[in-house]
Symmetry: C2
Subunit: 106 residues, 2 copies
Amino acid sequence: MKTIPEACCTLDLSSSEQEMLLGMFKALSNPVRLEILKFLITHPGCITGNIVDHLPVAQSTVSQHLKVLRDSGWIQGTTKGPATCYCLDEEKIAWFKRKIGEIFLL
Amino acid sequence: MKTIPEACCTLDLSSSEQEMLLGMFKALSNPVRLEILKFLITHPGCITGNIVDHLPVAQSTVSQHLKVLRDSGWIQGTTKGPATCYCLDEEKIAWFKRKIGEIFLL
DNA sequence: CTGCTAAATCGGACTTATACGATATAATGG
DNA sequence: CCATTATATCGTATAAGTCCGATTTAGCAG
């Protein structure tokens, strides 16, 4: 027999927060993007070309992945002449960690 | 000119840990699965049918998503008669939070 | 303005993920 | 053993993601 259990607690997460979270999870659901993020953790301020040299994929592919990481909030890119310099987006990452902590109060 | 910056730090993450992390990110990269997880946070111990009633998708689809969430480590299912009772996998979630903290030491 | 370097975007083949209905499995009650 | 209830799995159509080479955009030096 199906008995719907009572909610044991509430969970407030606005739809924009949920969308943000979903985007951040989606961005890191790809092994190449996780590798790029790992590389940027140990090599902050790298340019696209450094990342291309470090990975076995084409330049255009890396560029697409960087866009996903930028759009989702994990990294920030700043133009330095003809190159683009990438760093972690510390504010968004701190937000992510905080939200995960709030959602999973174990 | 491309100058490869020095690594500013190390990041030790075994390949099995990385795979685990990737699987957990991948699992929550889908809006239906995020919704299921949210429901299980507020309604621990629900059975599949409760989740099916709560979402606008077919039973077979929910069952597939539950499998992904189980395989990735977010939830645990225990058989209770003909039904399956789902809860968060607190140990794995704690591991996830810890790893995220270790990786992003901001 | 021209040439050079770095990165981004486009177009397309190919792979993977998601959804559904139909069917199979599994426990329980009569 | 048969019917019922609850899930899980299968087959498959459609949608989304990934990759590459080719091209475009953008900054800078001469």
